[in-house]
């Protein structure tokens, strides 16, 4: 069906990035304030869901040329991989560490393997949610 949704499309073009930024912010905030991998991933995927709702699937595919199944797989790999990494250093499975690093722009920042683990969670959530929604909606056509 053909619809005139110029307003929605124009808004989405801007809002999409706001949501993405918000998702990343939520994800990074996770360790000290509300947020984290799961919520971050969900917010990121809701951005993509919005995109898919407003534009047709073909257009979005051209803009985001990656397979969300692979994104999910990458997420699982990251989450398991950080766990395995601790074994290499002789620590029990899934041991996380943090370092305080003085970065040029951000100042004193906490860097930790935790973030990678959470990134894995976020990517898996993003990949799975978008895959399911795409799977169902593609089937409709």
């Amino acid at each position: 069906m053909k619809k005139n949704d110029v307003i929605l499309q124009t808004v989405t073009k801007i809002v999409f990035f706001i949501i993405l930024t918000f998702g990343v912010e939520l994800f990074l905030a996770g360790h000290n304030s509300p947020g984290g991998g799961f919520i971050g991933g969900l917010v990121l995927s809701s951005a993509f869901v919005l995109l898919y709702l407003v534009y047709d699937i073909e257009t979005v595919h051209r803009g985001t040329p990656f397979d969300f199944k692979r994104v999910a797989a990458l997420g699982v790999l990251l989450a398991v991989g950080t766990g395995m990494l601790s074994i290499v250093f002789g620590e029990p499975f899934l041991t996380q560490t943090t370092w305080l690093v003085d970065l040029p722009v951000f100042g004193e920042t906490e860097l930790g393997t935790m973030t990678i683990f959470e990134a894995g969670v976020a990517l898996t959530v993003l990949g799975v949610v978008v895959t399911i929604i795409l799977g169902i909606s593609e089937d409709v056509e």
Partner: protein, 804 residues
């Protein structure tokens, strides 16, 4: 130590590399890459042989799950060495053979991946010292052999054979695991060497016999002992190099290995002796009798493998008697049986490997393995014929081949039973030599069938499209020639094998008698005029007579108990199980979500309700509860209204909106109670699920007001009310009861320990990261499941390849 670790992990690493390398090394070249692995390992292991024969052994332990007593420990001793050498040695020859056997159109990369996986798993079985590690590798051999047998998965027969072998060996393996756990409860250790040291403790325990029988069950299923042998003939659906490898040289011998390995723990007990030797002898007889009636050469070899494995097994049973005797003369008599078993193990691998390769060559050159369509090939394929002759005559136990030596030792061991006056031996054991002799006659007959019916007589008229017979290319013949030469070489220099290879293995099986003279008997090619040699002469005479008049007495296979095959029981069992499962499944899988929710709720009510009524301790403690504020009351009122309103919604949109109201109200409640993380999650989840709901609209039929019967409404209403009450009661009880101290104190220090200020996330990511990781994994698997379900549903009707 490094050799052992390399031996276990190198094949796995190579297996992971093959799919990538295969892109560059196409066709046969990938085989030349693969062959380096077993060859390299074989040479590495061979270098350790001298030090092992001097009494050394290599133990290496790496803590894996120390709290559960599971260590990744490996142990290389004489017994492991025999098997490791066979796996890598025969493995190299099989790979060499397969390079020319498999056509380039086959999925060669996949083939070698599976083969290397199998090799690594097999090496893991024989080299691990920890029972749990052994079990893991043990089941890995089942899985990788499943993949290998089903290599030509488009054939129904291959799938059937693969499934059968997997079902039987894995079932046995699980029982074996239970046996291992019993041993752990007795001794508190999983380490084999410690278990052997504690054999008195184990023997005194009441779990001794159950543990023994369970371990034996694992060994018998893997080694295709009667009545579990039925999977082995069907496993012959695999490509011939695989058959030569798995089912003559390696996999089926894992059971033999297990029995030999556990001999120092269990032997000395009458049950062990009777079970192992009787099952072994029965298998030997049954296998050899059944082999004679086969017309497919590969099936014939399969039954002969069953029979030969039974023979080795029975020898190990007799060998265990040494633990029960005290006189050194008797000990020497019985240890000789184990020596014969190990010796025959090596001999069997050489001649059976060669025979399988010969059959593969026949199949490859002529396109048939049916004896009735073969004949007169001796002059056309002289080299193949020579190898077949060597292999078969060795299997029949004729000089000058290695099978003769081990068969004489076999007879000697059987006869030694009459000298045994221990374990309250009854006269039944006097039957043993007779059964062994009859089994050997049938062995002789089917060996003659292989040689004479295939290579002599008339050449049958070629079938349409059959290629004219000619000798195989020399590259394909190298491996069987090597094995055939070994058959002859071992006959002339058996004692070399005895001192260097078998000696250390005997020490491993008999740690109690280590260093005793006579543990490694001198093998003589001519051992004097004794009963064994007369038995041999007798069996040759009887065998030749029976073979000459085969067509007159072959009719007996059509009558009596020889007709009923155990396969029928297996098939009937499978069909019956499937039918029952489908009836049960159809009874509750109605396809209606409403029913499933009802089932879940009913189970929940039953569990919680019965649990609560059982405790009878309804203590409601409201004293510590905070007062309910007016705004909280309003939110809850909204929630109640919306949930009741869903029931009366007139359209789907209204229902979903109301559901959304419910969800967002919960989120607001979380905010009120200062749980921002939960509130955030709730809001996002609510949003995404609403989108999902809307998408699903496309599938749903028109919204129609439902007219359900009163009884249905009452039933649903009762379930709903009951589950509501159950949840409420549980929630209220939780306040009043505190059996355990609160765990929240532990997390007060979370920010210090984990470095994060958000306690929810530190729990998710640090304290309970394992949960989170697995949840992510579950989410991923579920996502893929949903995706493939949706995709497959669309393809339905187009692809019916599975039903063919």
């Amino acid at each position: 130590m490094i050799t052992v670790l390399l031996a276990i992990f190198l094949p796995f690493i190579a297996a992971c590399l093959v799919p990538f390398i295969h892109k560059f090394l196409t066709g046969r070249r990938i085989g030349w890459f693969v062959i380096t692995i077993p060859l390299f390992l074989f040479i590495l292991l061979l270098r350790l042989v001298p030090s092992l024969s001097n009494g050394a052994s290599y133990l290496y332990t790496f803590p894996w799950i120390p709290s559960a007593g599971v260590h990744f420990s490996t142990h290389l001793d004489g017994l492991s060495m025999i098997f490791a050498l066979l796996i890598t040695g025969i493995g190299s020859l099989v790979v060499l053979y397969s390079i020319y056997y498999l056509s380039e159109r086959e999925a060669i990369g996949r083939f070698y991946t599976y083969l290397l996986l199998f090799m690594g798993a097999m090496l893991g079985v024989v080299l691990s010292d920890n029972l749990i590690v052994l079990y893991v590798f043990w089941e890995l051999t089942s899985i990788s052999s499943f993949l290998l047998i089903a290599f030509w998965y488009h054939r129904k027969q291959s799938r059937y054979g693969a499934k059968k072998s997997m079902l039987i060996t894995v079932t046995g393996g699980v029982f074996m695991l239970v046996g291992f756990l019993m041993l752990y409860t007795i001794t508190g250790t999983f380490n084999l060497q410690e278990l052997i040291a504690m054999r008195e403790v184990i023997a005194a325990d009441s779990l001794f016999i159950p543990a023994m029988l369970l371990v034996l069950l694992g060994a018998f299923t893997k080694s295709a002992q009667f009545p579990f042998h039925i999977w082995l003939p069907d496993a012959m659906e695999a490509p011939t190099p695989v058959s030569a490898y798995l089912h003559s040289a390696t996999m089926v011998k894992a059971g033999i290995y297990l029995v030999a390995r556990f001999t120092p723990i269990f032997a000395g007990d009458a049950t062990w002796f009777y079970v192992v030797s009787c099952v072994g002898l029965l298998t030997m007889l049954w296998g050899s009798v059944n082999a004679v009636k086969q017309t497919d050469l590969k099936a014939l070899l399969a039954f002969s493998t069953v029979s030969q494995l039974g023979m080795i097994m029975s020898l190990l049973g007799i060998g265990s008697l040494a633990f029960a005797s005290s006189e050194s003369a008797q000990i020497a008599l019985f240890t000789a049986a184990t020596f014969a078993a190990l010796f025959h193990l090596i001999n069997h691998s050489t001649f059976k490997g060669a025979l399988f390769m010969v059959v593969g060559i026949l199949d490859h050159q002529l396109g048939t393995r049916n004896i009735k369509r073969l004949g007169g090939l001796a002059t056309i394929m002289p080299i193949t014929f020579t190898i077949a002759l060597i292999g078969s005559f060795s299997m029949a136990g004729l000089p000058p081949f290695n099978g003769f030596l081990s068969k004489e030792l076999f007879f000697e061991a059987m006869l030694s039973l009459k000298d045994a006056n221990l374990l309250t031996m009854d006269s039944m054991v006097l039957l043993f030599p007779i059964v062994a002799w009859i089994g050997s006659i049938f062995t002789f007959i089917y060996c003659m069938i292989i040689v004479f019916q295939t290579f002599f007589g008339k050449v049958p008229p070629p079938m349409s499209g059959q290629r004219p017979a000619h000798e195989a290319p020399i590259q394909m013949l190298i491996s069987p020639i090597v094995l055939g030469s070994l058959v002859v070489l071992i006959f002339f220099f058996p004692n070399l094998l005895g001192t260097y290879i078998l000696g250390p293995a005997m020490n491993a099986v008999y740690p109690k008698f280590e260093g005793m003279t006579g543990l490694v008997p001198e093998i003589h090619v001519w051992h004097g005029w004794g009963v064994p040699i007369f038995m041999t002469i007798g069996l040759i005479v009887a065998g030749i007579l029976l073979y000459r008049f085969l067509r007159y007495w072959k009719g007996i296979y059509r009558l009596g108990f020889l007709q009923w095959t155990l396969d029928r029981f297996y098939n009937a069992f499978l069909i019956r199980t499937e039918r029952i499962a489908s009836v049960v499944t159809k009874a509750y899988m109605t396809g209606s979500v409403r029913d499933y929710v009802a089932y879940i709720m009913l189970v929940f009510i039953a569990l919680v309700g019965v649990g609560l009524l059982g405790f009878q301790q309804f203590i409601f403690d409201f004293s510590n509860d905070a007062p309910i504020e007016i705004n909280e009351g309003i939110i809850i009122f909204v929630m109640m209204c919306s949930s009741v309103a869903i029931l009366y919604a007139k359209s789907r949109i209204a229902a979903i909106v109301l559901n959304g109201v419910l969800g967002y109200s919960i989120a607001i409640l979380f905010v009120v109670f200062r749980a921002p993380d939960l509130a955030l999650t709730q809001i996002v989840v609510e949003t995404v699920t609403t989108v999902l709901f809307l998408l699903c609209f496309y599938y749903l039929p028109e919204w129609k007001p439902e007219h359900k019967s009163i009884s249905m409404r009452v039933r649903n209403g009762l379930i709903a009310i009951a589950s509501g009450i159950a949840v409420t009661v549980v929630a209220l009880l939780v306040q009043g009861h505190s059996i355990y101290p609160s765990i929240s104190v532990y997390y007060e220090t979370a920010s210090r320990i984990a470095g994060g200020l958000n306690v929810v996330n530190t729990i998710l990511g640090d304290f309970r990261a394992f949960d989170t990781m697995l949840e992510v994994l579950v989410l991923f698997i579920a996502g893929l499941g949903v995706y493939s379900l949706v995709k497959l549903r669309r393809k339905k009707g187009a692809d019916h390849s599975e039903e063919k």
